[in-house]
Amino acid sequence: MKFTWFNLMPWPHLPDDFREKNRSVWVDIPQSLYDPEVGNRVYHEYMDQLEYADSLGFDGIGVNEHHQNGYGLMPSPNIIAAGLARRTSRAAICVIGNSIALYNPPIRVAEEFAMLDVISGGRLIAGFPVGTPMDTNFCYGQIPALTRDKYYEAHELIMRAWTESEPFAFDGKYNQLRHVNCWPKPIQKPHPPIYIPGGGSIETWDFCVDNDYNYSFLSFNGYVAGQALLDGFWERVAAKGVDESPYRAAFAQIICVGETDQQAEELYAEHVLYFYNRCLHVFPGFAEPPGYRTLKTIKAGKLSQLSAEAQKSFQSLTWKDLVEGGYVIAGSPDTVRERMEHMIKGLRIGHVFCLMHNGNMPDWKTRHSTKLFAEKVMPGLQDLWPDWKGDDRWWCKPYEGRVRPEDGIDAARADARLPERSGR
């Protein structure tokens, strides 16, 4: 098993009456709610936590991309990842990911990811989401019905830029480039592992299986609701006749560990509820622009949130709802380990994105939960897939001789991997 510590980087100061006063946490969230001076401390606290997770032995540390979003302060996850690449030297750096349809030209993503892979010494895991409608269409203005087409073209351009050994011309519908010549190139060959964060479209499942990419199901609805989606993915894997390595799939899960079940509720309930009841207050008009989703998905979707009445009354989830409904895995180390095992086996996943900072959780509680997980939960879950031991096809392959910032740059010079400083 691989465990990646993930921070969505929520703004921790949304007011109590946020939902009553504002229609959405995303896209048109009021400017007045952000304070850059407070933000200075927030970024450093969150980045420190990611580094702390590396020091505790998590396999990966993860960041993602959102725009104009009160629960995601990373319009550019690459900036955060660059900071992490310089302050860690062990854990994989999972950027899940860059919304490749948004960049003109998307060669920018090939270049920045290559830089991250080189700086981190081959520790990058590269995510290519299609992107949410909020980010892609309403914040970044992409035409809904053409977003997926543009995504596929961007994917083709990036992969060719990484794998071809000579400059080439690219005559796309959305990108025309006379001289594609990605310079620098990634350390990992032929390219870093690719993760596709997605929802439940058959197109995305097939795209992952056909290209041997990891399918990452990211939602906040937990493992109970996620079962149907992962089942759908595994059906496509079986139908296409490829092996059923659990490492083909990843799942994001909110996890809170206390000394006891009761302590977990006492310590974390208010922060998890802040996340569900405040951070996830997204105006439904931003969630479904016509053309973004396939007709099939709409027919299968839940639409009750779109009525006029639903806009006036807010459903408030309780801790009990969240734990019993499987949205959140919380409790003592034993409880969490048992639920995690159930989840991992049920969903058949080799990777878990552990969402361990939630809502407005203070630093000490985040570290408390993280430490308990690393020391008392993770060890008991590491060998759940003995038949697939050593299957690292979807994991990064760090360069052995990489510069390790904690050893100091001089150590690399002593090995003659770097030239002597002049005058020494």
Binding site: F138, P144, A145, P289, P290, G291, G301, L303
Partner: protein
């Protein structure tokens, strides 16, 4: 009105409603599509041979992938006119998005039409008067933006379906996803594809028709159209919103008939 399917020289199937006799008139519908009852067209059919083609993404023809941008729409519009096999140069009439495309067609091929009628057309943008974003509206909000009388308007939009009935809402959303998904190719995120810089080519005599209480594209846009088309005429219709052809059909029919008959 009768309905038939034609095929353009590109091979795109197109359902066309038609009625009446007289000089040919081709009507291009807006982002909402043709309604079951089209009183303005039925009225105009007393004096004109009226054709109302459906855009790709609307109706039964699943041809929307062939249309990606404004040039595709405008050329498809002319392909449809060609496929109708008319014996005279037609008048073009367009409502909202249909007006935007008709104006673009008139710029591309000024000799291909007789007169032009634009009913509260999309296609221009004024920073001081941003057009509300129909793509982020919930179903119940659409009617408020489109109609002077939202309650009557919701009945037309839903064709009697009850939006509190989830199955009906789902059907509506599926149709809406196809229609507005296609319309989004020229209307999202801002309904402006730089038509203004091509309007100098528009030489047809032009009538603008506008609902005085249009909340989606307010009448201040009529002023902008008149600045860009100084020879155009304006018929401002009282007691109507953006869906002026359905809220005041007789006034709209009369204004169009008078202009085209002049």
């Amino acid at each position: 009105m009768n309905e038939r399917t034609i095929e353009t020289r590109k091979g795109i199937g197109c359902t066309v409603r038609e009625a009446g006799s007289g000089p040919p008139l081709v009507f291009f519908h807006g982002a909402g599509g043709l309604q079951p009852e089209e009183p303005v067209l039925e009225g105009l059919a007393r004096e004109f041979r009226v054709f109302a083609p459906e855009w790709p993404g609307y109706g039964e023809q699943e041809s929307e992938e062939a249309i990606e941008d404004m040039l595709d729409f405008a050329l498809h519009g002319w392909d449809v006119v060609d496929a109708l096999g008319l014996d005279a140069t037609p008048h073009l009439v367009g409502h909202s998005m249909g007006g935007m495309i008709a104006a673009e067609m008139a710029c591309l091929n000024p000799g291909g039409l007789d007169r032009l009628v634009l009913v509260c057309p999309a296609g221009l943008w004024l920073d001081a008067h941003p057009i509300p974003d129909i793509f982020a509206m919930l179903p119940f909000e659409l009617a408020e933006a489109l109609f002077l009388d939202p309650q009557a308007g919701e009945k037309l939009l839903t064709q009697g379906l009850d939006f509190s009935d989830m199955a009906a809402l789902q059907d509506f959303l599926v149709g809406n996803a196809r229609r507005l998904g296609t319309a989004g190719k020229i209307l999202f995120p801002i309904p402006n594809r730089q038509l203004a810089k091509r309007l100098y080519r528009l030489s047809a005599e032009t009538l603008l028709v506008w609902g005085r209480q249009d909340r989606l594209i307010p009448p201040v846009y009529a002023e902008r159209w008149q600045e860009l088309l100084p020879a155009s005429q304006l018929a401002l219709v009282e007691a109507a919103g953006h869906m002026v052809p359905y809220e005041q059909p007789e006034a709209v029919r009369e204004a169009i008939a008078k202009f085209l008959g002049a």
